[in-house]
Symmetry: C2
């Protein structure tokens, strides 16, 4: 998995920072997570091929997570897209996008399929052979979901030297990758362990923004490899969290600690602070493995 | 008048160019014309004070002229705006903005006043002591208006040396500025022409984008000081104009010539061309006084 941050700052516009949007690459998939204003320009800047995006996940309908979507959907048409685009987001998203297209007498020349969310329980919203995506209900001012991306186990990897040594016929390779034992040229059964390597451990990524401190998400994200958790404020401004339904860097670290995640990425910084390094310092008083999101930064998960 | 181009390229997103938006400063007014995606960041970049914008004029509801408006309206709230904001644009604009605010459970803490346009005739849509604004009905794929900004005459300027020489009492100054003759200390009537200078000639600016070649606008913009006219294509692509309802650089120059305008500014360039200089060269074969809009460029009118 590879995560690329297109934008990770909170709403106030600035010349050099962008509102929330991320691209998550999982084998053959390129998922877009949130789509603040300017996302399509960020996609261009980081040379991400528009046509590879087939699923967009929108956490909530605040502008800094969503106002780039009408433009991106229009651009897909300009670029001659013909393949399906799936948009997963809160109920109302279809009405909003449809109205904007209608007012511009515009259309999509590709199938645009909305999957509107309204459950307050975690649910499976996408699944194929490679990955499953579940919602993570968050605690924000409007209906908001995080998203949990879980890679499925890959087939075992063939040990090329071993299958040659045991003179295993190629016709058995697929079965062996799926866990079967092999049969050598002279009819001897060879244990699968001797013919294969373990595949890479399936990876998982949880995106949690925007949200107040919410322990209810801990069971949903326990042991994920990487957690992105919003940290709008530092503890000095924690009195603003309840009203705005945002979290501090310390809150994010407490969730990471309780969920025993592999690593924590912070983002959604308020622009009131002079340096984002303060967020890392605060979180590391609770949880050691902290990274800072920043526009254009990539993370291997 | 001072015109600042925030963006002047057509819809396809690029890293270093922006869709249509302009700021027109006329004495105490700062008018925003169109609001493509990213306009609020451009306003920040060129250090234009958000609070000075009280009127926004939207030509039509295509994304590259309009999709920055929901974000800008939300940002005004974040910045604590309390003064009225007037939005002039095609019918439907109120429904669109209202839906986006509602979906985000957002609100404006300032009066947001929509003036929806649906006439296909030119009409007066704003007027005060300084300026009047009329629509210029354009020929595009959706209902579209250009805007004509006409400065009102300023009072005559007092000739300080002359009023001193004739010993004119200060109590007469305002009447003299408004055209009255003066009376000297010894009771002699002094002709206004001897006591004043002509005020600066009132200026006018016409914004015409997006539109196909449309001679019907000529009487509306005759003799304007500066005409901004879209030039999406060069003549080599003129076959695309009728379907897309856009104009070439030559079309823009022909309109400028027929309307006998002072100068012509071109913009809304398709991103297919390697250099925007081609647009100037083509237009100047018809009309001499041509300038090229570019993002961040300012023009004194």
């Amino acid at each position: 998995m590879k995560l690329t941050i297109l934008g990770c700052y909170s709403a106030t516009p600035r010349t050099l920072t962008n509102p929330t949007s991320q691209v998550l690459e999982i084998r053959n998939h390129l998922f877009l997570i949130d789509c603040g204003e300017g996302t399509q320009v960020q996609l261009r800047k980081y040379k991400i091929k528009f046509s590879r995006i087939k699923h967009i996940f929108i956490s909530h309908l605040h502008g800094d997570h969503f106002f780039g979507l009408p433009g991106l959907i229009s651009t897909f048409r300009l670029l001659g897209r013909e393949t399906e685009l799936h948009v997963h987001g809160p109920k109302g998203i279809k009405e909003a996008i449809t109205l904007f297209l209608k007012l511009g007498d515009s259309w999509t020349n590709y199938p645009l399929i909305f999957h509107e969310l309204e459950s307050t329980e975690s649910e499976l919203i996408f699944e194929d052979d490679t990955v499953s995506v579940h919602t993570i209900p968050l605690d924000h001012r409007v209906y908001t979901n995080g998203f949990l991306f879980t890679e499925k186990p890959q087939p075992r990897k063939l040990d090329i030297d071993a299958v040659a040594q045991y003179e295993i016929d190629r016709s058995q390779y697929n079965n062996i990758k799926n866990g079967a034992n092999g049969v050598s040229k002279n009819g001897r059964e060879i244990d699968n362990q001797n013919l294969t390597h373990d595949p890479p451990k399936p990876k998982s990524y949880a995106f949690c923004s925007d949200t107040a401190y919410n322990e209810a998400i801990v069971p949903l994200i326990t042991n994920v490899d990487t957690l992105y958790h919003e940290a709008t404020f530092l503890e000095t401004e924690s009195h603003l969290c309840q009203k705005t339904k945002h979290a501090t860097a310390k809150h994010a670290a407490q969730i990471a600690q309780k969920a025993e995640v592999g690593s924590l990425i912070l983002g959604h910084y308020s622009t009131r602070y002079k340096s984002i390094d303060f967020f890392k310092e605060e979180a590391q008083t609770i949880f050691p493995d902290v990274e800072l999101a920043d526009d254009g930064k990539s993370f291997e998960i």
